[in-house]
Each structure stands twice: as structure tokens, then as C-alpha cells.
Amino acid sequence: MLIVGEKINTSRKRIADAVEKRDASFIGKVAQSQARAGAHYIDVNAGTFLEKEADCLCWLVETVQSAVDLPLCLDSPSPDALIAAIKHHNGEPMINSISLEKYRFSSLLPVVTRHPCCVVALCMAETSMPATVEERVQVGSDLIQKLTGQGIPIEKIYVDPLVQPVSVDIRMGNAILEAIRNIMNDFPGVNTICGLSNVSFGLPSRRLINRNFLALCMAYGLSAAILDPCDAELMSTLLSVEMLLGRDEYCENFIEAYQNGRLTKA
């Protein structure tokens, strides 16, 4: 399971303050704690800075990469911010995200084909959000075909099925899970990725819902997740589910996490 650490996002107040003050030591510590907790990529998102987003994102890229030896997930709906940030990145970043929305697709396509990178393909149609399994799979397939058609290797593509809240439509949980399964079956080698928290919007006990949702997504084939790796309960769920799904030979990672005190007690 590939883990993208989600904490460096300026929608969180302490991160926004640190970016505002250009507090490299604080940002560096948040990056390091996620790296220690098992993140493979560190997500950076400065969306709340609006007009200053691109500048802030570039600063975050340099700051985080000087603190940890990991690639970053450059996270913005703005192609301009992503294009600026990619130039500051060492190694292969993950670009989060491209979608079928016209401007987003046409301006990012040349970037993701030119730079070696992984690319998150968000299941957002040109003019609407997908609701059903079929719509999600359709948009996902379109994106995979368009990206591989431009020479992007399929294993560099991470399809995001677009997580929507079950509070608004009780069928959403199944729609996402089935979409993950279908996309993974239809396109061998492709990856699927998602964030967890949208699913629990409008409900109490959100972390509990998010954890169980992660377990279900993994059972349906999800291969990457954007999450808080410092959340011990969430990571305990992840490690035990990996093991139960037969992806942890000799239960090595699970036992090691226990011995290092990283598993929750119950």
C-alpha cells in the first residue's frame, strides 16, 4: 500500500501560519514525522493562498525536500501552480491531479508527458461529477486511455474514484468501492488512490468511518491512499488489513510495528 502523507495542507491552520511566516523548521518537522510514520510521498497543498498559491507551493517543495529524502505529491486543482511547482521538485513527483475538465486536462497533459512523474487521474467529468459506478468507471477509463495514449506508463497512473459523502447519498460507499474494483480489474497495472475524509462529511465519529472505509477500499483493491500516517489508529487498521489481505509476508510489517510500539493496544 502506497501512503501519501496529507498533513502539509494549508487548509490546516498551523500549516497556513507556518507557510505565511516561511517557518521552514516547522514544515520540515511535519514532513519528517510523516516520513518516520511510513509515508512514501509527502503531499503539499497551498490552495488556500489563492493568488499566492504557486509561490507558496514552490517554497513548500523546496522546504520539504530539504527536510526529507522523499518525492512529493504536488496537490492543486490549479494547473498553473502545479506547473510552477514541478520545476522546483527533485526526482519524480506525483501530480495531483488531472481530470477531464477541459482547461485542467489540456494544460496539464503536456506537463505530465514531458516530466517523468506519477499522475493522479481524478474521476471528474468535463461538465459534471460522476454519481454512479458506471460514470466513475467511464471517466476513469477515458483518462487512462488518454494518458497511456500519450505514452504515460499505466503503472504511473493513480485513478482517484472521487470520494463523495454517504451522508447525502447512502449508495455512495458502494459506488466508490465497486468503481475501485472495476478499474483495477479492467486495467491491469493501473493504481487507484483516494483521500478518506470526504466519505464521512456530515456525520459524527468521522475518524471511525474513515478508518473502516480505508479497510473496505483496500479489500476492493485500492493501492494507494492519501492519509495522515501519524494517526496511530488509522495506521494500525492499514497494517492489519494489509496482513489480512495476504500482502504482508510472514506478517512481518505488522509484528514489527507492534514491536516498535506503533500499533494501538485494542
Binding site: 487548509s11 490552495g47 488556500t48 493562498f49 489563492l50 493568488e51 498559491e53 492543486s76 486543482p77 490549479s78 475538465e101 482547461y103 471528474m124 467529468a125 461538465t127 459534471s128 461529477m129 463523495q164 459523502p165 451522508s167 447525502v168 447512502i170 462529511f201 456530515g202 456525520l203 459524527p204
Partner: protein, 212 residues
């Protein structure tokens, strides 16, 4: 307990069957449609909005209450003569240009309708020009804009500037909301109100219009 009080409680609970049969009873007993609407339905939805804004109630419960109200409305609507139904005010609502997210916007529209406002929903990806054109055409009391992406928030500023250019900024109250939107941003772009959620949207709308 009076039928109206029981109806009020059934709507808050989201008990659709009970709410519908109590509404039918009230209609059969000759209760005025306006009274059923105001005291039975709208008062209940106001309570739902408050409980939602304070974290006592959650989205699925709010949806259920709104559904109960909508079913009851079907029974009392025929009782109203054309133009008889008093509205709290007219609201034009939409998600700004470049943004396809509609969940939050739909929740706000639903709660505003439940509170007795007349809603014109322009949908998603609405340009500044469309907002202003509809504002000129409908002359709403409130123009409500939603954005879920930080990249589309500037569309709110653009709409307000276009309202100013059209000379109608003072004739309509502009309310904004959506996950990345803040009260600071609202005052920065000279919006009249900011609502962090669907329950607060009703409370803020009434506040700026001076409705108690």
C-alpha cells in the same frame, strides 16, 4: 398535544409517514394552509437548521426532515391560491464558474426552501455574467454563491465586481460559502454574509434581511 405541534415534531424527527398523515388530518379539520406551513413545517425546519448548525443533528437527518416537509407541502399546496403563498424572500443560488461541486450548494438551497424562501437554483459552473443577468431578471433578495475549490473562489469576487458594474450590488444581499471559503474572504470581497454550513445559511440570510 395539538396536531400542529405533533406535525412540527414529526418533521424534526424526519418521520415522513406521521408528518404526512398529520398534515392530512389538519387539512381535513379545516386548518388554514398558511398556519400548517408556518407553524407545522417552517418552524420545524428552522429548528432543524439550528440543531444542524450547532452539531446536534447531522446531514442525513436534515435531508430526512426536508423530505418530510416536501411530502407535506404536496398536500397543502392545492389549498393556496396563485400568489397566495407568502415567501420569506427570493434567493438565486449557484456554484461559481469552473466548479462542478454541488452537494453543499444543494443542502443550502434545500434548507432555505424549507425556511420559506423561494429558490432559483442556477446549478454548477455559473459565470459572473449569468449570476448578474439572473439577478437583474429575478430581482432576488439574496444571491448565494458556493465554491469548493480554492481555485474557483475568485469567481465570487468577479461576480460581486460585475454586480457593482451593473449598478445592482446594493439591491441584493450577497452570501457565500463552501469548504475553502472563510469569513475573512467574505469581508475582503465585500460579500454581505458568510455561511459555513446549510443551517447557518438560513440564520445568516434572515439576519441580513432583518427577518425574525
Amino acid at each position: 398535544m395539538s396536531d400542529i405541534k405533533a406535525l412540527n415534531e414529526a418533521v424534526i424527527k424526519g418521520d415522513i409517514q406521521t408528518a404526512v398523515s398529520l398534515t392530512q388530518n389538519a387539512v381535513d379539520a379545516g386548518k388554514k394552509a398558511q398556519e400548517i406551513l408556518d407553524q407545522g413545517l417552517i418552524a420545524a425546519m428552522d429548528k432543524v437548521g439550528e440543531k444542524f448548525a450547532s452539531g446536534e443533528m447531522f446531514v442525513p437527518q436534515m435531508l430526512r426532515s426536508a423530505k418530510a416537509m416536501q411530502e407535506c407541502m404536496k398536500l397543502i399546496k392545492p389549498q393556496f391560491q396563485e400568489g397566495d403563498l407568502t415567501s420569506k424572500g427570493k434567493v438565486v443560488i449557484g456554484t461559481v464558474k469552473g466548479d462542478l461541486h454541488d452537494i453543499g450548494k444543494n443542502l443550502v438551497a434545500m434548507m432555505m426552501e424549507g425556511a420559506g424562501f423561494t429558490i432559483t437554483d442556477l446549478g454548477v459552473d455559473v459565470s459572473a455574467d449569468t449570476f448578474v443577468q439572473k439577478a437583474q431578471e429575478i430581482e432576488p433578495d439574496i444571491l448565494a454563491m458556493s465554491a469548493l475549490l480554492s481555485t474557483t473562489m475568485p469567481g465570487m469576487r468577479e461576480t460581486i465586481e460585475t454586480l457593482q458594474k451593473a449598478g445592482i450590488k446594493d439591491k441584493v444581499m450577497v452570501m457565500i460559502g463552501g469548504a475553502p471559503v472563510t469569513a475573512n474572504f467574505a469581508s475582503e470581497i465585500k460579500a454581505d454574509a458568510y455561511a459555513p454550513d446549510a443551517g447557518s445559511a438560513v440564520i445568516e440570510a434572515k439576519k441580513v434581511l432583518g427577518i425574525t
